[in-house]
Protein backbone atom coordinates (compact mmCIF):
# COMPACT_ATOMS: atom_id res chain seq x y z
CA UNK A 1 0.00 0.00 0.00
CA UNK A 2 2.90 2.36 0.80
CA UNK A 3 4.06 2.71 -2.80
CA UNK A 4 0.53 3.50 -3.93
CA UNK A 5 0.06 6.14 -1.20
CA UNK A 6 3.40 7.76 -2.03
CA UNK A 7 2.42 7.96 -5.69
CA UNK A 8 -0.93 9.48 -4.68
CA UNK A 9 0.75 12.18 -2.57
CA UNK A 10 3.30 13.08 -5.22
CA UNK A 11 0.56 13.35 -7.84
CA UNK A 12 -1.45 15.58 -5.51
CA UNK A 13 1.60 17.83 -5.05
CA UNK A 14 2.11 17.96 -8.80
CA UNK A 15 -1.51 18.96 -9.33
CA UNK A 16 -0.92 21.79 -6.88
CA UNK A 17 1.93 23.07 -9.09
CA UNK A 18 4.76 22.00 -6.79
CA UNK A 19 7.95 20.92 -8.54
CA UNK A 20 8.16 17.21 -7.73
CA UNK A 21 11.03 16.30 -10.08
CA UNK A 22 13.46 15.82 -7.17
CA UNK A 23 10.99 14.72 -4.52
CA UNK A 24 11.77 11.41 -2.79
CA UNK A 25 10.49 9.72 0.33
CA UNK A 26 13.09 11.61 2.37
CA UNK A 27 11.95 15.04 1.19
CA UNK A 28 10.54 17.05 4.13
CA UNK A 29 7.11 18.64 3.65
CA UNK A 30 8.33 21.68 5.60
CA UNK A 31 10.73 24.56 4.90
CA UNK A 32 13.78 22.29 4.41
CA UNK A 33 12.01 20.56 1.51
CA UNK A 34 8.76 21.25 -0.28
CA UNK A 35 7.99 24.21 2.02
CA UNK A 36 4.25 23.53 1.82
CA UNK A 37 1.89 26.27 2.88
CA UNK A 38 -0.55 25.28 5.60
CA UNK A 39 -3.38 25.31 3.06
CA UNK A 40 -1.47 22.88 0.84
CA UNK A 41 -1.10 20.51 3.79
CA UNK A 42 -4.83 20.92 4.42
CA UNK A 43 -5.64 20.21 0.78
CA UNK A 44 -3.57 17.02 0.81
CA UNK A 45 -5.25 15.98 4.06
CA UNK A 46 -8.68 16.39 2.47
CA UNK A 47 -7.70 14.33 -0.55
CA UNK A 48 -6.23 11.62 1.70
CA UNK A 49 -9.42 11.61 3.73
CA UNK A 50 -11.48 11.30 0.55
CA UNK A 51 -9.40 8.47 -0.91
CA UNK A 52 -8.24 6.46 2.13
CA UNK A 53 -10.83 7.40 4.76
CA UNK A 54 -8.07 8.63 7.08
CA UNK A 55 -8.74 11.87 8.92
CA UNK A 56 -6.21 14.37 10.27
CA UNK A 57 -7.65 16.69 12.89
CA UNK A 58 -6.97 20.41 12.91
CA UNK A 59 -4.59 20.20 15.90
CA UNK A 60 -2.54 17.54 14.10
CA UNK A 61 -1.87 19.65 11.01
CA UNK A 62 1.21 21.32 12.43
CA UNK A 63 2.92 18.02 13.19
CA UNK A 64 1.92 16.62 9.80
CA UNK A 65 3.65 19.58 8.16
CA UNK A 66 6.91 18.54 9.88
CA UNK A 67 6.92 15.03 8.37
CA UNK A 68 8.80 13.81 5.32
CA UNK A 69 6.89 12.35 2.38
CA UNK A 70 7.64 8.81 3.70
CA UNK A 71 6.62 9.85 7.20
CA UNK A 72 3.27 11.03 5.91
CA UNK A 73 2.85 7.81 3.90
CA UNK A 74 3.56 5.71 7.01
CA UNK A 75 1.09 7.76 9.03
CA UNK A 76 -1.64 7.22 6.43
CA UNK A 77 -0.92 3.49 6.08
CA UNK A 78 -0.84 2.96 9.87
CA UNK A 79 -4.08 4.85 10.40
CA UNK A 80 -5.80 3.02 7.53
CA UNK A 81 -4.71 -0.32 9.06
CA UNK A 82 -5.91 0.74 12.52
CA UNK A 83 -9.24 1.83 11.07
CA UNK A 84 -9.60 -1.48 9.20
CA UNK A 85 -8.78 -3.47 12.37
CA UNK A 86 -11.39 -1.50 14.34
CA UNK A 87 -14.14 -2.39 11.88
Amino acid sequence: MSAEVEKFIIEALENMNYDVSEVTGDTPLGPAGLDLESLSVAEIAIQVEDTYGVKFEEDEMESVALLTVSGLVKEIVDRAAAAAAAR
Binding site: N17, D19, E37, L39, A42, I46
Partner: protein, 427 residues
Amino acid sequence: MSVSHPAAVITGLGTFTPLGRGAADTFDALCHGKSGLRRPPAGHLLDGTVGSAGIAPDIEASEVLPPSEGRLVDRFALMALAAADDALADAGLVVGRDADPERVAVVVSSGAGGLTTYEAQAHDRVSRGRTAVSPYLLPGMLPNMAAARIAIKHGIRGWSSAVSTACAAGAHAVAEAARLIRYGEADVVVCGGAEAPLNPTSALAFDHARALAGGWDDDPEAASRPFDRRRNGFVLAEGAGVLVVERADHADARGAAGYADLLGWGASTDAFKPTAPRPGGEGAAQAMRGALRTGGLTPDEVGYINAHGTATKLGDVAETRAVRAVFGDRSPAVSSTKSMTGHLLGGSGAVEAAVCALAVSRGTLPPTHNLDEVDPACDLDHVRGEARRGPVAAALSNSFAFGGHNVSLLFGTASTRTTRQREGEGT
Protein backbone atom coordinates in the same frame (compact mmCIF):
# COMPACT_ATOMS: atom_id res chain seq x y z
CA MET B 1 -5.71 78.56 -5.18
CA SER B 2 -3.43 78.11 -2.16
CA VAL B 3 -2.52 74.54 -1.47
CA SER B 4 -1.98 73.81 2.21
CA HIS B 5 -1.92 70.06 1.79
CA PRO B 6 0.48 67.77 -0.07
CA ALA B 7 -0.43 67.29 -3.73
CA ALA B 8 -1.20 63.77 -4.94
CA VAL B 9 0.16 62.99 -8.37
CA ILE B 10 -0.43 59.98 -10.62
CA THR B 11 2.93 58.55 -11.68
CA GLY B 12 2.01 55.11 -12.97
CA LEU B 13 -0.87 53.49 -14.87
CA GLY B 14 -1.83 49.90 -15.57
CA THR B 15 -4.99 48.68 -17.29
CA PHE B 16 -6.11 45.20 -18.29
CA THR B 17 -9.39 45.46 -20.17
CA PRO B 18 -11.33 44.18 -23.17
CA LEU B 19 -9.15 46.61 -25.18
CA GLY B 20 -6.00 44.74 -24.12
CA ARG B 21 -3.17 45.16 -21.65
CA GLY B 22 -1.47 48.54 -21.28
CA ALA B 23 -2.91 51.95 -20.46
CA ALA B 24 -1.30 53.94 -23.30
CA ASP B 25 -2.44 51.53 -26.03
CA THR B 26 -5.90 51.35 -24.48
CA PHE B 27 -6.16 55.13 -24.51
CA ASP B 28 -5.14 55.21 -28.18
CA ALA B 29 -7.76 52.56 -28.98
CA LEU B 30 -10.42 54.60 -27.17
CA CYS B 31 -9.42 57.74 -29.08
CA HIS B 32 -9.78 55.84 -32.35
CA GLY B 33 -13.23 54.54 -31.43
CA LYS B 34 -12.19 50.90 -31.27
CA SER B 35 -14.61 48.61 -29.48
CA GLY B 36 -13.56 45.80 -27.17
CA LEU B 37 -16.99 44.20 -27.22
CA ARG B 38 -17.81 40.94 -28.95
CA ARG B 39 -20.02 37.89 -28.85
CA PRO B 40 -18.58 35.38 -26.35
CA PRO B 41 -16.82 32.76 -28.49
CA ALA B 42 -17.56 29.02 -28.39
CA GLY B 43 -16.15 27.56 -25.20
CA HIS B 44 -16.45 30.79 -23.22
CA LEU B 45 -18.53 30.54 -20.03
CA LEU B 46 -20.96 33.12 -21.42
CA ASP B 47 -21.37 31.51 -24.85
CA GLY B 48 -25.13 31.39 -25.39
CA THR B 49 -25.93 33.48 -22.30
CA VAL B 50 -25.33 37.02 -23.60
CA GLY B 51 -24.93 38.37 -27.12
CA SER B 52 -22.20 40.87 -26.29
CA ALA B 53 -19.53 41.07 -23.58
CA GLY B 54 -16.27 42.82 -22.83
CA ILE B 55 -13.74 40.00 -22.59
CA ALA B 56 -10.19 40.84 -21.48
CA PRO B 57 -7.12 38.93 -22.73
CA ASP B 58 -6.30 35.48 -21.34
CA ILE B 59 -3.97 35.44 -18.35
CA GLU B 60 -2.36 32.46 -16.63
CA ALA B 61 -1.62 32.49 -12.91
CA SER B 62 2.02 31.69 -13.72
CA GLU B 63 2.34 35.04 -15.51
CA VAL B 64 1.87 36.99 -12.29
CA LEU B 65 2.44 34.54 -9.40
CA PRO B 66 4.98 31.86 -8.45
CA PRO B 67 3.74 28.37 -9.49
CA SER B 68 2.74 27.19 -5.99
CA GLU B 69 0.86 30.43 -5.17
CA GLY B 70 -1.45 30.53 -8.17
CA ARG B 71 -3.79 27.76 -7.09
CA LEU B 72 -7.47 28.69 -7.51
CA VAL B 73 -6.64 32.39 -7.71
CA ASP B 74 -9.59 34.00 -9.48
CA ARG B 75 -9.22 35.98 -12.66
CA PHE B 76 -10.15 39.25 -10.92
CA ALA B 77 -7.02 38.98 -8.77
CA LEU B 78 -4.81 37.90 -11.68
CA MET B 79 -5.93 40.87 -13.77
CA ALA B 80 -5.39 43.20 -10.79
CA LEU B 81 -1.88 41.79 -10.30
CA ALA B 82 -1.07 42.37 -13.98
CA ALA B 83 -2.37 45.95 -13.82
CA ALA B 84 -0.46 46.61 -10.59
CA ASP B 85 2.78 45.17 -12.00
CA ASP B 86 2.38 47.41 -15.05
CA ALA B 87 1.50 50.51 -13.01
CA LEU B 88 4.52 50.13 -10.71
CA ALA B 89 6.82 49.47 -13.68
CA ASP B 90 5.35 52.52 -15.45
CA ALA B 91 6.04 54.62 -12.35
CA GLY B 92 9.57 53.22 -12.24
CA LEU B 93 8.92 52.45 -8.59
CA VAL B 94 10.27 49.46 -6.70
CA VAL B 95 8.92 49.28 -3.15
CA GLY B 96 11.84 49.18 -0.74
CA ARG B 97 14.23 50.76 -3.24
CA ASP B 98 12.28 53.91 -4.13
CA ALA B 99 9.79 54.06 -1.26
CA ASP B 100 9.66 52.99 2.41
CA PRO B 101 7.51 49.81 2.44
CA GLU B 102 5.67 51.00 5.57
CA ARG B 103 4.77 54.24 3.79
CA VAL B 104 3.32 52.49 0.75
CA ALA B 105 -0.39 51.63 0.76
CA VAL B 106 -2.49 49.40 -1.44
CA VAL B 107 -6.23 49.91 -1.95
CA VAL B 108 -7.57 47.67 -4.70
CA SER B 109 -11.26 46.96 -4.76
CA SER B 110 -13.73 44.57 -6.30
CA GLY B 111 -17.48 44.58 -6.37
CA ALA B 112 -17.85 40.86 -5.81
CA GLY B 113 -14.44 39.17 -5.86
CA GLY B 114 -13.99 35.73 -7.36
CA LEU B 115 -17.53 34.58 -7.99
CA THR B 116 -16.55 32.60 -11.07
CA THR B 117 -14.20 30.45 -8.98
CA TYR B 118 -16.84 30.18 -6.26
CA GLU B 119 -19.44 29.06 -8.78
CA ALA B 120 -17.09 26.37 -10.13
CA GLN B 121 -16.34 25.08 -6.62
CA ALA B 122 -20.02 25.05 -5.71
CA HIS B 123 -20.72 23.07 -8.85
CA ASP B 124 -17.91 20.60 -8.03
CA ARG B 125 -19.21 20.19 -4.49
CA VAL B 126 -22.65 19.22 -5.78
CA SER B 127 -21.32 16.87 -8.46
CA ARG B 128 -18.30 15.32 -6.68
CA GLY B 129 -19.01 15.74 -2.99
CA ARG B 130 -17.61 17.62 -0.05
CA THR B 131 -13.94 16.88 -0.63
CA ALA B 132 -14.07 18.78 -3.93
CA VAL B 133 -14.02 22.04 -1.98
CA SER B 134 -10.44 23.29 -1.72
CA PRO B 135 -9.00 25.18 1.27
CA TYR B 136 -7.54 27.51 -1.38
CA LEU B 137 -10.99 28.78 -2.37
CA LEU B 138 -11.07 31.64 0.14
CA PRO B 139 -7.62 33.17 -0.54
CA GLY B 140 -8.47 32.76 -4.22
CA MET B 141 -11.80 34.55 -4.27
CA LEU B 142 -12.33 36.93 -1.33
CA PRO B 143 -12.73 40.52 -2.59
CA ASN B 144 -9.73 41.78 -0.56
CA MET B 145 -7.40 39.27 -2.18
CA ALA B 146 -6.38 41.47 -5.12
CA ALA B 147 -5.03 44.03 -2.64
CA ALA B 148 -3.48 41.31 -0.48
CA ARG B 149 -1.75 39.53 -3.37
CA ILE B 150 -0.36 42.82 -4.68
CA ALA B 151 0.95 43.63 -1.19
CA ILE B 152 2.59 40.20 -0.84
CA LYS B 153 4.15 40.35 -4.29
CA HIS B 154 5.53 43.88 -3.98
CA GLY B 155 6.30 43.96 -0.24
CA ILE B 156 3.81 46.72 0.56
CA ARG B 157 3.47 47.01 4.34
CA GLY B 158 1.48 50.22 4.96
CA TRP B 159 -2.28 50.77 4.84
CA SER B 160 -4.21 48.21 2.84
CA SER B 161 -7.88 47.78 2.14
CA ALA B 162 -10.46 46.88 -0.46
CA VAL B 163 -13.67 48.85 -0.78
CA SER B 164 -16.64 46.82 -1.92
CA THR B 165 -19.15 49.31 -3.32
CA ALA B 166 -20.22 47.53 -6.50
CA CYS B 167 -19.75 49.76 -9.56
CA ALA B 168 -18.18 52.55 -7.48
CA ALA B 169 -15.55 50.27 -5.90
CA GLY B 170 -12.66 51.25 -8.17
CA ALA B 171 -13.44 54.95 -7.79
CA HIS B 172 -13.75 54.60 -4.01
CA ALA B 173 -10.25 53.07 -3.99
CA VAL B 174 -8.83 56.06 -5.86
CA ALA B 175 -10.68 58.42 -3.49
CA GLU B 176 -9.14 56.59 -0.55
CA ALA B 177 -5.72 57.03 -2.15
CA ALA B 178 -6.29 60.79 -2.38
CA ARG B 179 -7.23 60.92 1.29
CA LEU B 180 -4.25 58.80 2.39
CA ILE B 181 -1.86 61.17 0.61
CA ARG B 182 -3.60 64.33 1.75
CA TYR B 183 -3.72 63.28 5.40
CA GLY B 184 -0.11 62.10 5.42
CA GLU B 185 -0.78 58.41 5.96
CA ALA B 186 1.22 57.24 2.95
CA ASP B 187 3.83 58.45 0.46
CA VAL B 188 2.65 56.14 -2.30
CA VAL B 189 -0.70 54.42 -2.84
CA VAL B 190 -1.25 51.60 -5.31
CA CYS B 191 -4.97 51.93 -5.96
CA GLY B 192 -7.58 50.58 -8.30
CA GLY B 193 -10.23 47.97 -8.91
CA ALA B 194 -10.84 44.69 -10.66
CA GLU B 195 -13.83 42.60 -11.61
CA ALA B 196 -14.32 39.25 -13.35
CA PRO B 197 -18.11 38.81 -13.54
CA LEU B 198 -18.28 36.82 -16.78
CA ASN B 199 -19.91 33.72 -15.32
CA PRO B 200 -23.45 32.59 -16.21
CA THR B 201 -24.99 33.12 -12.78
CA SER B 202 -23.77 36.72 -12.49
CA ALA B 203 -24.69 37.51 -16.10
CA LEU B 204 -28.19 36.10 -15.69
CA ALA B 205 -28.69 38.04 -12.45
CA PHE B 206 -27.84 41.31 -14.21
CA ASP B 207 -29.93 40.34 -17.21
CA HIS B 208 -32.95 39.42 -15.10
CA ALA B 209 -32.58 42.73 -13.25
CA ARG B 210 -33.15 44.28 -16.73
CA ALA B 211 -29.74 45.97 -16.55
CA LEU B 212 -28.10 44.47 -19.66
CA ALA B 213 -28.35 45.65 -23.25
CA GLY B 214 -30.31 43.27 -25.46
CA GLY B 215 -31.19 42.76 -29.10
CA TRP B 216 -27.72 43.53 -30.49
CA ASP B 217 -26.68 39.96 -31.30
CA ASP B 218 -26.03 40.84 -34.95
CA ASP B 219 -23.71 43.70 -33.98
CA PRO B 220 -22.15 43.10 -30.54
CA GLU B 221 -20.00 46.26 -30.77
CA ALA B 222 -23.14 48.39 -31.05
CA ALA B 223 -24.66 47.08 -27.83
CA SER B 224 -23.11 49.68 -25.51
CA ARG B 225 -24.53 53.08 -26.52
CA PRO B 226 -24.42 55.57 -23.64
CA PHE B 227 -26.66 58.65 -24.06
CA ASP B 228 -27.95 57.35 -27.41
CA ARG B 229 -31.64 57.28 -28.17
CA ARG B 230 -31.58 53.52 -28.79
CA ARG B 231 -29.61 52.52 -25.67
CA ASN B 232 -31.18 49.74 -23.61
CA GLY B 233 -28.70 48.70 -20.94
CA PHE B 234 -25.04 48.05 -20.27
CA VAL B 235 -22.68 45.38 -21.58
CA LEU B 236 -21.10 43.19 -18.92
CA ALA B 237 -17.30 43.30 -19.01
CA GLU B 238 -14.24 42.29 -17.03
CA GLY B 239 -10.91 43.91 -16.31
CA ALA B 240 -8.73 45.85 -13.92
CA GLY B 241 -7.19 49.27 -13.56
CA VAL B 242 -4.43 50.29 -11.15
CA LEU B 243 -2.87 53.70 -10.58
CA VAL B 244 0.23 54.66 -8.62
CA VAL B 245 -0.67 57.80 -6.68
CA GLU B 246 2.22 59.54 -5.01
CA ARG B 247 2.89 62.62 -2.91
CA ALA B 248 4.23 65.13 -5.42
CA ASP B 249 7.42 65.94 -3.49
CA HIS B 250 8.10 62.21 -3.12
CA ALA B 251 7.80 61.84 -6.90
CA ASP B 252 10.01 64.88 -7.46
CA ALA B 253 12.67 63.55 -5.07
CA ARG B 254 13.07 60.43 -7.20
CA GLY B 255 12.67 62.28 -10.50
CA ALA B 256 9.37 60.65 -11.45
CA ALA B 257 7.13 62.39 -13.96
CA GLY B 258 3.41 62.78 -13.34
CA TYR B 259 0.49 62.23 -15.69
CA ALA B 260 -1.94 64.34 -13.70
CA ASP B 261 -2.72 65.42 -10.17
CA LEU B 262 -5.50 63.73 -8.25
CA LEU B 263 -6.98 66.98 -6.98
CA GLY B 264 -10.14 65.98 -5.19
CA TRP B 265 -12.84 63.48 -4.46
CA GLY B 266 -16.50 63.59 -3.61
CA ALA B 267 -18.76 60.84 -2.37
CA SER B 268 -22.42 60.64 -1.52
CA THR B 269 -25.20 58.15 -1.01
CA ASP B 270 -28.62 58.18 -2.64
CA ALA B 271 -30.40 56.48 0.30
CA PHE B 272 -33.17 55.74 -2.18
CA LYS B 273 -33.49 52.32 -3.88
CA PRO B 274 -31.22 49.27 -4.02
CA THR B 275 -30.64 49.50 -7.77
CA ALA B 276 -32.20 52.70 -9.15
CA PRO B 277 -30.62 56.15 -8.90
CA ARG B 278 -32.53 59.18 -7.69
CA PRO B 279 -34.20 60.33 -10.95
CA GLY B 280 -32.97 63.90 -10.54
CA GLY B 281 -29.38 62.80 -10.01
CA GLU B 282 -29.16 64.63 -6.68
CA GLY B 283 -26.66 62.16 -5.20
CA ALA B 284 -24.49 62.31 -8.31
CA ALA B 285 -24.51 66.11 -8.25
CA GLN B 286 -23.55 66.08 -4.57
CA ALA B 287 -20.56 63.83 -5.38
CA MET B 288 -19.36 66.13 -8.19
CA ARG B 289 -19.71 69.21 -5.95
CA GLY B 290 -17.73 67.39 -3.27
CA ALA B 291 -14.92 66.67 -5.70
CA LEU B 292 -14.78 70.32 -6.74
CA ARG B 293 -14.78 71.44 -3.10
CA THR B 294 -11.98 69.11 -1.95
CA GLY B 295 -10.04 70.01 -5.10
CA GLY B 296 -10.57 73.74 -4.62
CA LEU B 297 -11.91 74.30 -8.14
CA THR B 298 -15.01 75.97 -9.51
CA PRO B 299 -17.26 74.31 -12.13
CA ASP B 300 -16.04 76.57 -14.93
CA GLU B 301 -12.51 75.17 -14.56
CA VAL B 302 -13.61 71.64 -15.52
CA GLY B 303 -13.13 70.86 -19.22
CA TYR B 304 -14.05 67.19 -19.32
CA ILE B 305 -16.27 64.68 -17.57
CA ASN B 306 -15.65 60.97 -17.98
CA ALA B 307 -19.25 59.99 -17.36
CA HIS B 308 -20.42 56.94 -15.49
CA GLY B 309 -22.56 56.57 -18.65
CA THR B 310 -23.45 52.87 -18.54
CA ALA B 311 -26.23 53.21 -21.16
CA THR B 312 -29.11 52.28 -18.90
CA LYS B 313 -32.23 54.29 -19.65
CA LEU B 314 -32.63 55.78 -16.18
CA GLY B 315 -28.97 56.13 -15.24
CA ASP B 316 -27.86 58.24 -18.20
CA VAL B 317 -30.78 60.66 -17.75
CA ALA B 318 -30.10 61.02 -14.02
CA GLU B 319 -26.41 61.71 -14.70
CA THR B 320 -27.33 64.30 -17.34
CA ARG B 321 -29.56 66.07 -14.83
CA ALA B 322 -26.77 65.96 -12.26
CA VAL B 323 -24.27 67.52 -14.67
CA ARG B 324 -26.82 70.23 -15.51
CA ALA B 325 -27.43 70.88 -11.82
CA VAL B 326 -23.71 71.40 -11.15
CA PHE B 327 -22.63 73.10 -14.38
CA GLY B 328 -25.77 74.94 -15.50
CA ASP B 329 -25.96 75.84 -19.17
CA ARG B 330 -22.24 75.31 -19.83
CA SER B 331 -21.68 71.56 -20.14
CA PRO B 332 -18.08 70.40 -20.06
CA ALA B 333 -17.12 67.92 -22.77
CA VAL B 334 -18.55 64.51 -21.83
CA SER B 335 -17.78 60.97 -22.95
CA SER B 336 -18.26 57.42 -21.72
CA THR B 337 -15.42 54.89 -21.81
CA LYS B 338 -17.99 52.11 -21.30
CA SER B 339 -19.18 52.58 -24.88
CA MET B 340 -16.03 50.69 -25.92
CA THR B 341 -15.00 48.64 -22.87
CA GLY B 342 -18.43 47.72 -21.56
CA HIS B 343 -19.06 47.99 -17.82
CA LEU B 344 -16.23 46.58 -15.72
CA LEU B 345 -18.30 47.06 -12.52
CA GLY B 346 -15.76 47.42 -9.67
CA GLY B 347 -12.96 47.84 -12.21
CA SER B 348 -14.58 50.70 -14.14
CA GLY B 349 -13.86 53.60 -11.81
CA ALA B 350 -10.14 52.82 -11.78
CA VAL B 351 -9.83 52.27 -15.54
CA GLU B 352 -11.73 55.52 -16.14
CA ALA B 353 -9.49 57.36 -13.65
CA ALA B 354 -6.54 56.21 -15.77
CA VAL B 355 -8.34 57.49 -18.88
CA CYS B 356 -8.82 60.88 -17.20
CA ALA B 357 -5.14 61.03 -16.20
CA LEU B 358 -4.17 60.39 -19.84
CA ALA B 359 -6.77 62.85 -21.16
CA VAL B 360 -5.30 65.60 -18.97
CA SER B 361 -1.70 64.69 -19.76
CA ARG B 362 -2.24 64.47 -23.51
CA GLY B 363 -4.91 67.09 -24.00
CA THR B 364 -7.07 64.57 -25.86
CA LEU B 365 -10.61 63.47 -25.08
CA PRO B 366 -11.78 60.06 -26.31
CA PRO B 367 -15.28 59.97 -27.84
CA THR B 368 -18.40 58.06 -26.86
CA HIS B 369 -18.79 55.23 -29.36
CA ASN B 370 -22.22 54.35 -30.82
CA LEU B 371 -23.64 57.76 -29.93
CA ASP B 372 -25.44 58.03 -33.25
CA GLU B 373 -28.41 60.05 -32.11
CA VAL B 374 -28.25 61.83 -28.77
CA ASP B 375 -31.27 61.25 -26.56
CA PRO B 376 -32.83 64.72 -26.06
CA ALA B 377 -33.03 63.86 -22.34
CA CYS B 378 -29.23 63.46 -22.34
CA ASP B 379 -28.38 66.80 -23.93
CA LEU B 380 -24.75 67.57 -23.01
CA ASP B 381 -21.60 68.54 -24.91
CA HIS B 382 -20.87 64.97 -26.01
CA VAL B 383 -17.56 64.05 -27.61
CA ARG B 384 -18.62 61.75 -30.40
CA GLY B 385 -17.36 60.53 -33.72
CA GLU B 386 -13.75 61.55 -33.22
CA ALA B 387 -11.49 62.35 -30.29
CA ARG B 388 -11.33 66.02 -29.37
CA ARG B 389 -7.97 67.81 -29.00
CA GLY B 390 -7.05 70.71 -26.79
CA PRO B 391 -5.72 71.39 -23.29
CA VAL B 392 -7.82 70.10 -20.39
CA ALA B 393 -7.03 71.88 -17.13
CA ALA B 394 -9.29 69.67 -15.02
CA ALA B 395 -11.42 66.56 -15.50
CA LEU B 396 -14.03 64.73 -13.45
CA SER B 397 -14.65 60.98 -13.44
CA ASN B 398 -18.02 59.74 -12.22
CA SER B 399 -18.91 56.34 -10.79
CA PHE B 400 -22.33 55.41 -9.45
CA ALA B 401 -23.31 52.04 -8.03
CA PHE B 402 -26.05 49.63 -7.14
CA GLY B 403 -26.78 50.55 -3.54
CA GLY B 404 -26.73 54.27 -4.29
CA HIS B 405 -22.99 54.86 -3.75
CA ASN B 406 -21.74 57.83 -5.78
CA VAL B 407 -18.12 58.86 -6.27
CA SER B 408 -16.64 61.65 -8.34
CA LEU B 409 -12.89 62.14 -8.77
CA LEU B 410 -11.18 65.37 -9.88
CA PHE B 411 -7.96 65.43 -11.92
CA GLY B 412 -5.76 68.35 -12.98
CA THR B 413 -2.43 69.15 -14.60
CA ALA B 414 0.48 67.34 -12.95
CA SER B 415 2.31 69.46 -10.36
CA THR B 416 5.56 67.46 -10.48
CA ARG B 417 8.62 69.21 -11.87
CA THR B 418 8.55 66.89 -14.86
CA THR B 419 5.40 65.71 -16.55
CA ARG B 420 4.70 62.93 -18.99
CA GLN B 421 5.42 63.85 -22.59
CA ARG B 422 2.36 64.21 -24.72
CA GLU B 423 3.14 61.01 -26.51
CA GLY B 424 0.91 59.20 -28.98
CA GLU B 425 -2.52 60.77 -29.33
CA GLY B 426 -2.46 64.55 -29.35
CA THR B 427 1.08 64.94 -30.66
